[in-house]
Subunit: 483 residues, 2 copies
Amino acid sequence: MWKPDRGSDKPLYAQIADDLARRISSGEFPPGTRLPSERSLAELLGVNRSTVVLAFGELRAAGIVESRTGSGTRVSRGGWGAAPKQTPNWSRYAEDGGFLPNLPLMRRIREALSRHPSLIDFASGELSADLAPAAEIAALLREQDDIAYLGYDNPQGHMPLREALASYLARYRGIRTTASSVLITSGSQQSLFLIAQCLLAPGDAVAVEDPSYCRSLPMFQSAGLRVFRLPVDEHGTRPGDIRALRKKHRVKMVFLNPNYQNPTGTVLGAERRKELLEAASGLGLPIVEDDPFSLTAFGERPPDPLKAMDADGSVLYIGSFSKIAASGLRIGWMVAPNAIVERLADARQQMDFGLSVIPQRIVARFLESPYFRPHLERLRTELQFKRDLLIDALRKELPDQVEFAVPRGGLHLWCRLRHAVQDGKLLDEAIRRGTVFVPGSVYGSAPGYVRFTYARPRAEDIGPGVAAFAEALRAMEHGPGGP
Amino acid sequence: MWKPDRGSDKPLYAQIADDLARRISSGEFPPGTRLPSERSLAELLGVNRSTVVLAFGELRAAGIVESRTGSGTRVSRGGWGAAPKQTPNWSRYAEDGGFLPNLPLMRRIREALSRHPSLIDFASGELSADLAPAAEIAALLREQDDIAYLGYDNPQGHMPLREALASYLARYRGIRTTASSVLITSGSQQSLFLIAQCLLAPGDAVAVEDPSYCRSLPMFQSAGLRVFRLPVDEHGTRPGDIRALRKKHRVKMVFLNPNYQNPTGTVLGAERRKELLEAASGLGLPIVEDDPFSLTAFGERPPDPLKAMDADGSVLYIGSFSKIAASGLRIGWMVAPNAIVERLADARQQMDFGLSVIPQRIVARFLESPYFRPHLERLRTELQFKRDLLIDALRKELPDQVEFAVPRGGLHLWCRLRHAVQDGKLLDEAIRRGTVFVPGSVYGSAPGYVRFTYARPRAEDIGPGVAAFAEALRAMEHGPGGP
Ligand SMILES: Cc1ncc(COP(=O)(O)O)c(C=O)c1O
Ligand SMILES: Cc1ncc(COP(=O)(O)O)c(C=O)c1O
């Protein structure tokens, strides 16, 4: 991000005017588009609003922008010759496409984090930097001496990684599979996207957990699917609900996250697993099992995945490196019947022509290296430690205002507020006090819930973060203007 | 790919039977699905067909598969208990989705190449391994000592790479832009996919060159777009055609590859560029400029991109690292107005949650390293050398049967056959003789054309490859049964 240089001889306002003029002439803000407001630009650049007012004045004087009260400042049209010129109506193109934008609350969180990187972050569903195996990965990168081929790779993914995953899956998840049944994806997200786009058609009905992974909902909607909800209780979803939905709405696929579910942390009960597989196999109904968290289990052996018991081939199994190592590598995988793997690999060629070879090589080596097991041990210990810090802080700061079950694995704690408040307002109050979380409504559930990701903030920030959240909550309860 | 071990004491057929049993029980071939034919399995595993017949006999005896004359060998249903069980009808799921599969000829080429890696490859539209900067990239990987952050990255792409690209674009392509107008993508392919999915809606009309990049056609169809064609002559597309299409079909976007077009090698004429931009700006019609080949120009300065003259912001500019360095890194970029970049970055979060950080870091460093310029010099020299080898071989082997224009850049030579033959048959004949190319029909053009990618085969294979192609063509001309 460009910032004005306070050491320069050129006044700040002139630097800003020049930068904007350059960005306008480069097409970043085409003729007719509205510039960011004076206030937000000032915040972004870390200057006084009056400085931005001066810069806008310069641009107005040069005829580059025009302001009208109430409608902000826009890039001037015309001035480029006599013939009538027209810029494509880019905002219309941006709005009219078939694809739906993400949830506004998620975008608000992302914007807050990019403007204020010092916020204590309970919102991003990922590990903190110190929990990623960065040193190990750097060491493996230094060992890359034999990069013989950097061309378009196998559409299903890099063969050495698929082989490493087949043995990883046998060893850690009790899944017997072969490299040819494995598809490498850009995280679980791409697995879910491929399934929604390529195996289902607009108008098809699917069942998902309620609450469930927030980024899957807009994705299903973009694919034109009708989404039906399966309430999650303390043992997960109920097989009877699935049978009922199948009957009533001809649901074509069920999406589940059985171990340490996002956001609730719930583990699907052993009896229900059996019943569910029976139901699926009786109905010929596919289950998508999203299993990113199992290897974080705290001091217990995580339950076997449904896929390990899937004698009839009803389950598409999805895994990811994001929650056990590093989300920025963008490596996930799917285990599926041959026909499905081939179909999805073929379709993905149209979308992105496959994944980069280098991160796939790194992950293959990491899985087979002596680094992997000790990394998992350390990860589990540290995650449990952070979970306990969060629990202690919540009990101390908000003894009577919150309720939660203690998660036995995963990255998140799902918290009910005794007195429901308005989600978006609470978020704003918390941001103002230096912390950010994800409001429960984002997961499609009833208001009055909050998801705290204990994996993401640094250990020493967890206490202060909860204190800031508690203040925000109290400010809400006392209403605007409160004590 | 698993292959039977000829050194083992266990007979080949038993090894194959065991491998198939394992793959069946792991769900790769669920109950009811059809196994590959005896012939294709024998070819795949490099054994006699009789060996596979024995292996299938074993599996049949064990009740694992069933054969019926005429319908091949299928995995048995049942045998898993008394309750009626059902496997999801996976082939239906694979066929029913909204997304269209890729062109069958392209899949046939890919299959041939994966079965016979020794084929002389004029088909894959990419550089040969020795033209990629593998040693340079390995050196840069070894320098990665400061991987501080491996989390989810900025949705628009890694900031240091966007900054490196802004200065690359100014220096090499005359495009003035800023990091915030750049979106990093998984190659040009993902840029095109994002545009088709997010800025256009099903039913919208678009105009594309005829012939044009083969992988864009199924992609546009998957997005539900109506595709209209702009014939390419020796100076590219005609602006008048675009005006006419706009009027007649309300075309909403135009896709062009103005420099060293794939597949024809054509360069859009200077006059036409001006006219085209005027037409676009008069109509408020966006142009997508796909520019992957310019930096390969042989002994000439490549024409400036349309984007460099785009005063009214009508052009979305797309670039890629694939054709000038390494397609397996999967790094491309788009330069677009702010509203568009934000919209596409947001939507991509639903598709794959962004690109891996590591290849982005590598490309950023490579662009700014002292390796980059010498790499480009070497690339151009070698490409021109290979182009000349191809031309000499074609003139020698097929003096009277082919016609072509000599490309001044890019990776491909577009060749007209004086006597049109059936595309698919010619391909089969060529594969049988050890070489592979892309039939012109794949690009949507009239039959009787062939695309040869001179960049892909090794220099020493170009002559023998053309000789094999010439034999295949002669076999066709003399009809089945040969001369
Ligand atoms: C349940 C679940 N599925 C999928 C994902 C997507 O993660 P990734 O694409 O990084 O694997 C997440 C991330 O939060 C998740 O929680
Ligand atoms: C004109 C054109 N556009 C786009 C692409 C896609 O390439 P990539 O996604 O590797 O950049 C190609 C590849 O052949 C091409 O020729």
